[in-house]
């Protein structure tokens, strides 16, 4: 790998750097997949020392463009210029050697290996006889983790880390060498605010060294704090490249989705129905203790907490995936014993799980088949034969409701963009006509347009009488969508607030055990 001079540039030098010819130039990139034109004549310039944000709806082609840059895909047409020279990458190794690092949207880690080994994957420090220089490896890894403010050890197995921590490991890779270009593809999708702050410092540090950074995110606030310029993609085409300082959130949204977003529709309190779901004294080993709460029909209850607070585990218990040690669950006032998901589904529960790839989708199946999977009995006729029309109807309905952007019902889930995959999972659960809907991180990786649609949808569902429990790590989401907010701290309920009167400070205090 060609190391770049790691000198810190002065402000004047940096300005100069930025003004010079672009460090990286993508020119007229076109990429088609069977049935989709993912990128259509896309051009993009990244200058040394700038943060260039890349925005666009789910499926707009952001990840695909970056994968072409990193050698994972090859463009059908177009050129890549790096420092003025035309380069061509047949595989990721060549891109890496040329100084391009891509932090993947879908984590690219080896779960069975240690954190240090993952950070140095493909570049382990080599000693005599091809041995690994463990001491160097661990020392450097520890150093990098420290800069990132990570608490775990370089010797921990990645498979045992939380999703957020895995994300930090992935980010750590950008710091091993000083590359020329670093691409972050939605690095914050599963990070908390504290970790975000660290990440931003790291990115600023990189730019000071003259590195060009491409930053992809669906979160406007991040884009506006971080980026110097931004490029908006829609349907595989560039809609415009702007100086960040000369535009507004609304303007960008307009470019992205072709319209602006309305404000949140808050409904009047007190119109809730009877209690649909009640949990009393639920306890599960070391995961959570004595959790009690109620969700009424028509009510949206948000559950907020730090990573590892045990929210996911509570949801999984409700859905019959874990057996509690103590406590009871009541549905419509009746104590229920839910020992497995089928029992939960029969009781009108639905769970949109936290990890769409592992728990939500059969990636090798079509979107349509995935959508009817939780409702197979509903689309089955005599002798166990499936009714293709009923399945198609489900697909049509929820593809429309959720504004799914897929090449068609027969497209494999694996080929969808991350956000659209999430929509398929949500569609699958709405198709079961649930009475109690639990959503665990429902908008992770979803673009602003769709996100507000999903929020609207949650509100509408509640208005139609559903009881909804939303788990999220995003404060604005929780505050915006909920009627009531539960704060979880170390597996215990640390607060139960009315959203109307709740302040952000109060909520932060609660989830920190204050």
């Amino acid at each position: 790998m060609t190391a770049h001079p790691a000198a810190i540039h002065s402000a004047a030098e940096l300005d100069d750097l930025r003004r010079r010819a672009p460090l990286l130039k993508l020119d007229g990139i076109t990429k088609t997949f069977p049935g989709v034109v993912a990128l259509d004549d896309v051009s993009l310039e990244v200058r040394a020392g700038e943060v260039h944000a890349l925005l666009g709806e789910n499926g707009a082609g952001k990840s695909t463009l970056m994968k072409i840059l990193a050698g994972n895909h090859q463009a059908n047409r177009g050129q890549i210029h790096l420092e003025g020279e035309v380069v061509h990458f047949d595989n990721p190794m060549q891109a890496k050697e040329a100084g391009i690092v891509l932090i993947h949207q879908e984590l690219s880690l080896v779960p069975e290996m240690s954190v240090a080994e993952n950070i140095f994957l493909g570049a382990l420090p080599r000693g005599m006889f091809g041995t690994v220089k463990w001491r160097v490896l661990h020392a450097v890894a520890a150093e990098i983790l420290k800069t990132l403010g990570c608490k775990f050890s370089p010797r921990d197995k990645v498979g045992r880390l939380s999703i957020a921590n895995r994300q930090m490991v992935e980010i750590a890779r950008a710091l091993v060498f000083t590359p020329k270009v670093v691409v972050f593809d939605e690095p914050t999708a599963s990070l908390t605010d504290a970790e975000k702050v660290v990440l931003f410092e790291i990115i600023r540090g990189l730019t000071k060294k003259g590195v060009g950074v491409v930053y992809i995110s669906h979160r406007m606030d991040e884009i506006f704090t971080l980026s110097d310029r931004l490029t908006v993609l829609r349907d595989g085409k560039v809609r415009g490249t702007l100086e960040t300082s000369e535009t507004s959130e609304d303007g960008v949204t307009q470019l992205m989705i072709g319209r602006s977003l309305e404000g949140r529709t808050k409904r009047a309190a007190g119109a809730f129905g009877p209690v649909a779901l009640e949990v009393k004294g639920l306890t599960c080993g070391s995961l959570y203790h004595d959790v009690s709460f109620q969700v009424r029909k028509g009510e949206v209850v948000g559950m907020y907490g730090l990573v590892g607070a045990g929210r996911t585990e509570v949801a999984e218990t409700l859905f019959g995936l874990r057996t509690p040690d103590a406590g009871e669950i009541r549905i419509d006032g009746e104590v229920v014993a839910i020992d497995a998901p089928p029992a939960a589904i029969a009781r009108g529960l639905a769970l949109v799980p936290e990890s769409r790839k592992e728990q939500g989708l059969v990636l090798g199946m079509s979107c349509r088949d995935n959508m009817s999977m939780a409702k197979l009995s509903g689309v089955t006729g005599r002798f166990g034969f499936l009714k293709p029309r009923a399945e198609q109807a489900i697909y049509d309905e929820y593809a429309k409701t959720l504004d799914l952007r897929a090449p068609g019902p027969a497209a494999l889930a694996v080929n969808l963009s991350g956000g659209n995959q999430q929509k398929v999972v949500i569609g699958k659960w709405l198709a079961t006509d649930p009475e109690i809907l639990i959503l665990d991180e429902p908008t992770r990786g979803i673009d602003v347009g769709s996100k507000s649609e999903i929020h609207d949808l949650i509100r509408r569902l509640a208005a139609s009488g559903l009881a909804v429990l939303v788990i999220s790590s995003e404060m604005p989401e929780i505050m915006g969508v909920s009627d009531r907010v539960l704060a979880l701290y170390h597996g215990r309920i640390a607060g139960d607030f009315d959203a109307e009167t709740l302040t952000e400070d109060r909520l932060v205090q609660a989830i920190s055990g204050l």
Binding site: K96, V110, E117, G122, A123
Partner: protein
């Protein structure tokens, strides 16, 4: 109770000894108590010598399986290497013949690896084809004949002792140490885990996955050939049907030792435990004079029981969702 169990499993996570060793030791204990001859030094060294064949192949198999591949052609390579090493002795001398035998294993490993790499055909199919085809090569070369090593020095080597242990046991243990070192301490070994654990990630990280796999197929080819040669020194002869079904027993030993079929996890130490477990079981049942038909049933039942116990130990205290 749960507390102690949890702390116990916690302990078992910290220890580097793979769980199969518990079973191996339990078996050894059982046979020591129930039979007269089991614990004798002579018998124990016999076990080491007898397991050395499957053991050597298993070392190589562990590497390709950690790598996310598999090699079903090892049994046929055993026969080919043995036939060449014995059959060529009279023409070109013993050492050159042995070299040709080893070379044939490495060359076939290279071929398997190149095919897997370049065509993208699953290793299972590639090596299943080779399992049939290489056996064909053996018969082409031997014309159905068994070969006999003219000088007894060859078979004396196979039966000889060094420092109180059978020489072949030393060979096996020596290579076990080497491979343990390779898999835990070298860049190549660590990359094997990376490629098997997440091939996509390894590719993204710039590991030359194809070349890497070819090397590992050559390693397993080498070990299969070496096993064929050590086996032929024990017999002073080779037969064209040597090594039939060895691939199944080798894979069994490796998986018992904790290596995942899907790749990315496993260890040489575990494989050693798996190999010894099978060897001890067979030997112990011989000593107890279990009738042949019942040996099959007991062996099968025990394989399954080991898996079951292993799972119970690993599952206790796990916080993963039961899905």
């Amino acid at each position: 109770m749960t507390k102690t169990l949890q702390s116990l499993t916690h302990l078992s996570r910290l220890t580097v000894v793979p769980p199969i060793w518990l079973f191996t030791l339990a078996c050894a204990l059982f046979f020591t108590v129930t039979t007269d001859n089991f614990a004798e030094i002579g018998n124990l060294t016999n076990i080491l010598q007898q397991t050395s064949t499957i053991g050597l192949i298993a070392l190589g198999m562990t590497v390709v399986m950690i790598n996310g591949n598999i090699d079903l052609s090892v049994g046929a390579v055993v026969a080919l290497a043995a036939s060449l090493a014995v059959g060529l002795q009279s023409d070109i001398g013993t050492l050159p013949a042995v070299a040709v035998g080893l070379g044939s294993g490495i060359a076939l490993g290279f071929l398997n690896g190149m095919i897997v790499w370049k065509t993208g055909v699953d290793a299972f199919i590639v090596t299943l084809g080779a399992m049939i085809g290489v056996r064909g090569l053996v018969f082409v070369y031997t014309q159905e004949q068994s070969f006999f090593a003219m000088d007894f020095a060859y078979s004396d080597f196979g039966m000889s002792q060094t420092l109180g242990l059978p020489t072949l046991a030393w060979v096996f243990l020596g290579f076990t140490v080497v491979m343990h070192w390779v898999m835990t301490s070298t860049v190549h070994g660590r990359n094997a885990y990376a490629v098997g654990g997440n091939r996509e990630a390894a590719l993204n990280a710039g590991i030359r996955v194809g070349r890497h796999m070819v090397v590992n197929f050559m390693i397993v080819g080498f070990f299969a050939a070496l096993a064929g040669i050590t086996l032929s020194t024990q017999m002073g002869a080779s037969t064209p049907n040597l090594g039939r079904e060895y691939e199944l027993w080798t894979i069994t030993a490796v998986v018992l030792g904790g290596t995942k079929l899907t790749g990315g996890a496993g260890s040489i130490l575990g494989t050693l435990g798996g190999v010894l477990a099978i060897g001890i079981l067979r030997n112990g049942m011989n000593l107890m004079q279990v009738p042949a038909f019942y040996v099959l049933v007991i062996l099968g039942a025990i394989l399954i029981a080991v898996l079951f116990i292993d799972r119970q130990v690993n599952r206790a205290g796990s916080e993963e969702v039961e899905a």
